[in-house]
Symmetry: C2
Subunit: 299 residues, 2 copies
């Protein structure tokens, strides 16, 4: 069994980006610049946005953190988004979710220009991805593809089961793995809460992507000998023995499943660390595209 070490892979990606960004600087090319909008002071969001800013600094990218208190008006956010859309110094930007209830997240997501939407949440990017056009693919699916690629796990002709049909992981993952690309060409079955004989279907899979959000849902008896298992789940379960007060549970019962598989990604330390690396990759791409006028075509 080989452990898919997301921490290590994310580190490799960051080191590669460091070199690439330094090259841009040496060529007097504009440097990738990520802006992040943070509303309120939800602990998770603050930590996560700070980690993104720190990662930018590490690879030599610029970043701008824009903060608002949780009473901010929707209009204020929309105006800032409009400003960032038109600011040539910003390669791409994100609005950290979740937002306070009085703000319409959908409206905010739709306001971001698809060519600066490095989170890949805008429907135009989702559609472009589905159509095989140049697109920003969102962090988690993109991170999973990177993990598979960098661990040289072939997908072509493989039976792949994606557990969970969420808009941000399961559904895009099923599309990406089906496409005619080097990290695609798999035969994908998307299973969910209404699926019958779920265990039987999982048992047939060469590759399982578990993204259902139920702690230890995937048991050893659901997994074929020698399969590849990617665990996307991250459920916080209270745990007083931890400094943070909680323990992170994946969707896979790692202890038993890991004994049967060829590759497995742990939680924590698997897919999680890849999300920031994916965001940096997208920001780099946004920068290079926009200054080379190779930007995704706008209406």
């Amino acid at each position: 069994m080989t452990l898919i070490d997301g921490k290590q892979t994310a580190k490799e990606i960051k080191e590669e980006l460091k070199v690439k960004v330094a090259k841009l600087k040496a060529q007097d090319h504009p440097v990738p610049h990520l802006a992040a909008i943070l509303v309120g002071n939800d602990g998770g969001s603050v930590t996560y946005v700070n980690a993104k800013v720190k990662a930018c600094a590490y690879v030599g990218m610029e970043s701008t953190l824009i903060t608002y208190d949780d009473q901010v008006m929707e209009k204020t956010l929309l105006d800032k988004i409009e400003e960032l859309n038109n600011d040539d110094n910003i390669s791409g930007f994100i609005v950290q979710l979740p937002l306070p209830k009085h703000i319409d997240e959908r409206k905010i997501t739709l306001a971001i220009s698809p060519s600066k939407d490095v989170d890949g949440f805008h429907p135009e990017n989702v559609g472009r991805m589905s159509l095989g056009l140049p697109a920003f693919v969102s962090a988690t699916p993109n991170g999973i593809l990177e993990l598979l690629k960098r661990h040289e796990i072939p997908t072509e002709g493989k039976d792949c089961v994606v557990i969970g049909r969420s808009s941000i992981v399961g559904t895009p993952m099923s599309i990406l793995l089906s496409r005619n690309t080097p990290t695609g060409n798999a035969t994908v079955t998307l299973v969910h809460s209404r699926t019958k004989k779920l265990e039987e279907i999982c048992k047939r899979a060469d590759i399982i992507i578990a993204a259902i959000g139920k702690p230890h849902f995937v048991k050893a008896e659901m997994v074929k000998e020698g399969a590849v298992v990617i665990d996307v789940g991250t459920t916080r379960v209270e745990d007083n023995t931890k400094k943070s007060g909680f323990k992170l549970y994946g969707d896979v019962d790692f202890e038993t499943v890991s004994k049967k598989v060829s590759f497995i990604s742990p939680v924590p330390g698997g897919v999680g660390p890849m999300t920031i690396a994916s965001l940096l990759l997208n920001t780099y791409k946004a920068c290079v595209q926009s200054s080379d006028k190779l930007s995704i075509p706008q209406k």
Copy 2:
């Protein structure tokens, strides 16, 4: 075995629309108005566009046909699209594909405002569909859902195999059938040219959607007793005994497969007739949405 009669279903939809459009007129509500751009005089395209115009007239909708010779400049088309995007009298419009080689189809598709894109080809509509947001779904997938719904064929919890991963049929079909909706909730496997054991996978299916474009690809031995089979294939094969000079072949070997199944859609007369009905449904929706200011939110 029940024949899924697309001609009859399309007729029912048109009759329903006729009543609805008459109601709009009686309420002094703007009437749905479809514009169609036709470039050149390719026989198939001319026939198809004319059929669309005729169908509009039948249900009481307005239509405008805009024709160009095949030497038209891309810029001229883009200008016309811009004009139609901003014309409040036009509910929605289409550009009949294929276009001459000197015109970039992708650029044309991207130029159409998503809120008037009644063909549902713009990436924003594809993405919206995938995200479960209000969207124009393209004619063929939409037509298939209508056929299933109107024949009361349940999809929830069913094992569904979609053969072929094209952007316009297979991929959107796999997404639509997976979603948490009354015409979704199926467990979908998307199979394609790189799939191994394709016959075995098909044999497990409760519902097969064949959209691979290979005449009579689906044989009786690939189909489970009592399955539902929807044939999307339309390959023209030369046939001098026909007035048109060709015969239309589906992806399904109808003669043998029809003996095993519970429902089957024939070719011709199955999915084909539904595409124009779908376009009319989208045009009606575009009209009602835009005048009720319920339009899909714009950036």
